[in-house]
Symmetry: C2
Subunit: 327 residues, 2 copies
């Protein structure tokens, strides 16, 4: 920096201002400094800059599991939003363990991020509370109820409603839900399914099978159905479960959607696969990302604000896995 300043015949401060895009630098000085910097191959040291300004313009994004294609979509949306709001995104991989997640959160704090977005975190409330005193935290898809922690959810009620309405409109009545067991959000998904069915006057023909958010769980549930009474439609807790179900049905020679309609959740890469072409609920990730970054910005401005909960409505993407039931 010293060298650039000398070469351009200005002070170090002026060089600093140029690289901050300050409006109060004359055009002449600006271009001279820029030219010399280019010539000398100077790039500002981000570390020093962050240390001196006490602002990193960085948001930490903590993901649960990058193997789940859903989180790749989540990442994309959030990274894009952070970037367009002028932040750099730092990424960490929680690998489905609360312990590792807490650690990653600590790393974010150590790096003085301006805020952290936690996607479906498993971290304990006590860790969340203590961290929330240091940096703004936003929980996505987990409804925590803690003093200064904002929450962004997609609206499970709407999701269930969309699925049930779609299936009923096609003529289905005998619908099974394979749930996500004790996984995050599984209870809400199941409960709203039941509520929607009841509202439609179908409490008699609705069924729920216990599962998990995995392909394996989908296979097991499907085998159980194949041995017993098949419904005309199966609504799965997520796309992975639906993939497991599809595998078993195919092996058994049961056609989708000819014999049974299949619905997933999350609209991941799996649903888009032509082999599966799965009707699925698409979470409003872009809107959720926008809301999250907004909440962080607002909490930076006003740290003592009360916690907010934002709910955003999902949409249904219909594909070839759903159709009217036979006869």
């Amino acid at each position: 920096m010293e060298d650039v300043a000398a070469a351009a015949g200005v002070s170090r401060s002026l060089v600093s201002l140029v690289f901050q895009d300050s409006p109060k630098v004359s055009e002449a000085s600006r271009s001279r400094v820029l030219a010399e910097a280019e010539r000398l191959g100077y790039r500002p040291n981000v570390l020093a800059r962050q240390l001196a300004s006490n602002r990193t313009r960085t948001i930490g994004i903590l993901l649960d599991d990058l193997h789940n294609p859903y989180f790749a979509d989540v990442l994309d949306a959030f990274e894009a939003e952070a970037e367009s709001a002028g932040y750099r995104a730092l990424l960490a991989n929680g690998r489905r363990e609360g312990e590792r997640e807490s650690e990653a959160l600590g790393t974010f704090i150590d790096h003085r991020v301006d805020g952290v977005i936690l996607a479906s975190p498993r971290i304990s409330d006590s860790v969340l509370t203590s961290m929330s005193k240091i940096a703004p935290l936003v929980c996505v898809e987990r409804r925590v109820d803690l003093p200064r922690i904002d929450v962004v959810m997609h609206d499970e009620r709407v999701g269930a409603q969309l699925v049930v309405d779609h299936l009923i409109a096609l003529g289905h009545r005998d619908i099974v839900h394979i749930d996500g067991g004790s996984g995050a959000g599984a209870a809400a998904r199941r409960d709203w399914f039941m509520q929607s069915m009841r509202d439609a006057g179908l409490s008699a023909s609705m069924r729920v099978i216990g599962g998990e958010f995995t392909e394996q769980a989908g296979r097991e549930a499907a085998e159980q159905l194949v041995r017993g009474a098949m419904p005309t439609a199966i609504y799965c807790a997520n796309d992975a479960v639906a993939a497991g179900v599809a595998a078993v049905l195919q092996r058994e020679g049961i056609s989708i959607p000819g014999d049974v309609s299949l619905v997933g959740y999350d609209d991941t890469m799996l649903a888009k696969l032509d082999l599966l072409s799965l009707t699925s609920v698409r979470q409003p990730l872009a809107a959720m990302a926008k809301a999250s970054v907004d909440l962080i910005n607002r909490r930076i401005e006003k740290p003592r604000r009360g916690a907010e909960i934002v709910d955003i409505a999902p949409s249904l993407v219909t594909r070839r896995s759903t159709a009217a039931p036979r006869d």
Copy 2:
């Protein structure tokens, strides 16, 4: 830090040494400092530490596309390896554009990472060359030939050999390869397939169809095959292509592996899907990660070392998509 030092009755320097795990601190001082730090909630500022020490103990990992499940596997392996070698991993998402990748590489450099691992990068040689003067660079799965840039590859020759041997052992002779077009590594994959077929004396019955590394390309190639002469086995440039092929075959009522055997590449989540259960070549990611981090370490020690190329043999994972051809 000042406060901790005062509370523990020692100097700032001593506190610094404690947090560096220096061996020359007495047990008494160490525990006193640690206790006070704990009590006061002190955590060292990573930024200041990195600035002062001029070492970040951080490796940048540049991925091409997190939507491709292959890269989720790559990330896992490399992150784990970096961590166990005492580095923190910084992640960036290139999103399949050389431009964005160059930018991300610039960000890494700005953050003074100790080294960068580039997975299948599309960056131009000139950018690579200039960046390699600032930080150690390792290219994974791209065979660049530049002065100080090390390369880690999995051995395409072995991969092709494994596939061809497996299919021949099952009794196949009429084998089609759907290639990756102009994608990274596609040429090598195709060429070694042809070489292996020739070596087996099957040049007459071998065929290659032009494609791309996408599901869409797989569908198109499959449609072409369905309309023309079907082989007894199809070897795809990657798993996504195989998924596309499988979708078309299923729709046409062509059974896998009854009528035709299918082989993929990369052994991603897709291959593991029960619906597909795809025989696929597994890249030795853990070994590749280890080699990469090693190369970075060695280049930090000896920056002017000549470029090295490391080749690592992959393995074949056989699943239900391959079997002996009909009669």
